[in-house]
Symmetry: C2
Subunit: 124 residues, 2 copies
């Protein structure tokens, strides 16, 4: 799969994909003899993982750490697991904040509900 196809598939720019590879946020992508990237399923899995995690707000620094551990082999399995658990917890906290904010917005919107009615009343 070419970089353009992957770009289309995951709705991310080619430049970003190259950037991710360059900084080690995904492992080196498979190349054809001429040096052109030819994404295999394994590469796609990494791309998808990277994009999903970034979308959830996990920092590039953390993700590079994860990929670096992966490259170091099996000895890092417990560390990698710990890293994922830590990130899971941080996302759960984010969810909580988000839920609280939504509740707060709902209250504020509810407050506007009556005020809009009054406002429209005034217009008559």
């Amino acid at each position: 799969m070419t970089i353009a196809e992957v770009s289309e598939l995951y709705n991310v720019s080619s430049a970003t994909l190259r950037y991710y590879e360059r900084i080690g946020l995904i492992p080196p992508v498979t190349r054809k003899e001429n040096g052109i990237r030819d994404f295999q399923q394994e590469d796609l899995n990494w791309v998808e993982f990277a994009i999903k995690m970034r979308d959830a707000g996990i920092s590039i620094e953390i993700l590079i750490e994860y990929v670096t551990l992966f490259k170091m082999g099996k000895d890092t399995i417990p560390t990698r697991k710990a890293l994922l658990i830590e990130q899971r917890e941080s996302l759960a906290k984010k969810m909580e904040i988000l839920q609280n904010t939504i509740d707060r917005l709902d209250q504020k919107i509810e407050g506007y509900e009556t005020r809009v009615l009054k406002y429209e009343e005034r217009l008559k």
Copy 2:
């Protein structure tokens, strides 16, 4: 209340509070005769709102728009309400993404669960 006290109270730097006021993310703060900020309850409400919304990831641009509408008076009430509803929706979408990512992480962690066991077995 001084800026240092507000800074402490909401765990945000004085510089950020000044910055928020300067860019119009909160309305102008009440001052003493000598020009020093003396936050009143009303000011605090704005500060709290701004910080909570920022924490939830709502952009500065949007929040400035809201404050600007507020300053323009009652005619903007329906617009303000619409803006809040829009943001509420966008937060709900974020929650969904977050939940999906957490689910995905849980699966990945579960996968590591067995691999860690194997790894520790190997060490014996």
